[in-house]
């Protein structure tokens, strides 16, 4: 048995929601595309939306900030980052605990402590469950300080100390392999303000890498070699593809993010099997993200040459991928 990766929040930097006109535009576009056709039932209508419209025309990539879940550990929850997507995960966790008898142990793995990656924690329902055990794994020794600080009175009405769950902080060291509830875990530092960490999860010969908020500088050969080694032969790699390559080396250089082109290059060099585009720019529309995916697939084909084909996928809130 491998792992299942579920995306609860895929947007970078700031939560976003579609404005009224964006929904109107999708409806108008779909009606125009249908061009007077009628549908016998809901199934036919859904088939039209799913088969004849692009993903961005018929859906939305979503606007919650970084939060992923990995299923496949013994019985505990595995949660990557605490962005605004964590609120819905918490609500669904209550359902699964009640319906399926799941363990109330929540293992978190933190890429870093910036606002968009921790803002969901004050809204994480299980933190108020006195029978819950929350274990927060981080490469940062100041993780607890960051979480406490965002719940200080000046920022939030509910203090950290009012949370009822048992909350434990564990600082992990890059270069070591840890076994956490049935999954092997490693972390690696990345170039980002106050440092961020990539995480690798392995189970039954399958590997999944989560690498967000990482700046890969084109002239840094050591960085390239280190990440190709960390991504080596991975079954699934989630990468920060917030900017275009040109943006990442000019206007937005040193902002701590990377591009679709660099992500493909690293995955090609590593022989990874699937790349997931992630940490979408908050100003990007669904059409922009459709175009990002299409262009990245094309770049992969142009850059592949004699390498193994790399499957390119675009993340959206609620996407599930088997590893």
């Amino acid at each position: 048995m491998g792992m299942l990766v579920r995306f609860w929040g895929t947007r970078g930097s700031l939560p976003v929601a579609p404005r009224a006109r964006a929904i109107e535009d999708k409806l108008v576009g779909a009606l125009m595309r249908a061009s007077g056709r009628s549908f016998a039932d809901e199934g036919e209508a859904r088939a039209f939306v799913n088969d004849e419209l692009s993903f961005g025309e018929g859906h939305t990539y979503g606007g919650a900030t970084t939060c992923l879940e990995v299923e496949g550990g013994d019985d505990s929850f595995f949660i990557l980052d605490m962005g605004s997507g964590l609120r819905e995960l918490g609500n669904d966790a209550f359902r699964r605990v009640a319906q399926d008898g799941r363990s109330r142990t929540y293992n978190f793995f933190m890429s870093h402590l910036h606002w968009d990656h921790i803002m969901g924690f004050p809204f994480f329902g299980p933190a108020f469950d006195p029978n819950a055990h929350i274990v927060i794994h981080s490469g940062h020794a100041d993780c607890e300080q960051a979480l406490r600080r965002q719940q200080e009175e000046i920022s939030f009405p509910v203090a950290f100390d009012w949370l009822r769950a048992k909350i434990e902080f564990k600082v992990l060291t890059p270069g070591q392999t840890y076994s956490v509830d049935g999954i092997e875990v490693e972390l690696m530092p990345q170039d980002h303000s106050h440092v961020s960490y990539a995480w690798k999860f392995k189970r039954d010969g399958r590997s999944f890498v989560f690498s967000t908020d990482a700046e890969h500088r084109m002239d840094d050969v050591a960085d390239k070699e280190a990440f190709e080694a960390f991504f080596d032969d991975a079954d699934l790699v989630v990468c920060d593809t917030m900017y275009s390559l040109a943006e990442s080396i000019t206007l937005k250089a040193d902002w701590g993010h990377s591009s679709n082109v660099m992500a493909v290059n690293l995955c090609h060099g590593a022989g990874a099997k699937r790349l997931v585009l992630f940490h979408h720019e908050p100003t990007s529309s669904d059409a922009d993200i459709d175009a990002l995916l299409e262009e990245t697939i094309r770049y992969e084909a142009l850059n592949r040459r004699d390498r193994r084909p790399l499957d390119v996928i675009c993340s959206y809130d609620s996407l599930e991928l088997e590893v």
Partner: protein, 111 residues
């Protein structure tokens, strides 16, 4: 990678050809830097004629980026000329048209 040189009304021209893979990165970069230095001396642009380039790897894109930094410091513009359709796609996906001039022809003259 092969490399030839000529000149144009706009300034010196570098003409790489073949595949510019990661192994050719340092050679490509040093030739770009030399071309930028020539252009700085003559007061023109540095034209990189890409018509003969079959493929440009990530390392080659990196070399262009590094050379661009040098060029900015020398007040020289690097112009990417005549990329083939596939290479033009790579440059446009990278949004290099926003940081380089990409043109379809150059005014060549005897070097």
């Amino acid at each position: 990678m092969q490399w030839a040189e000529s000149s144009s009304a706009r300034g010196p021209v570098g003409q790489p050809a073949g595949v510019i893979d990661d192994g050719a990165r340092e050679d490509f970069l040093s030739r770009l830097r030399a071309g930028v230095a020539d252009a700085a001396t003559s007061g023109g642009d540095f034209i990189v004629d890409l018509a003969g380039v079959d493929h440009m790897s990530a390392g080659a894109l990196m070399a262009l980026t590094i050379a661009r930094k040098d060029a900015l410091g020398s007040n020289v513009k690097i112009v990417l000329a005549r990329p083939g359709p596939a290479l033009r796609e790579v440059l446009e996906i990278s949004r290099y048209q926003l940081i380089f001039d990409i043109v379809d022809d150059i005014d060549m003259r005897e070097g």
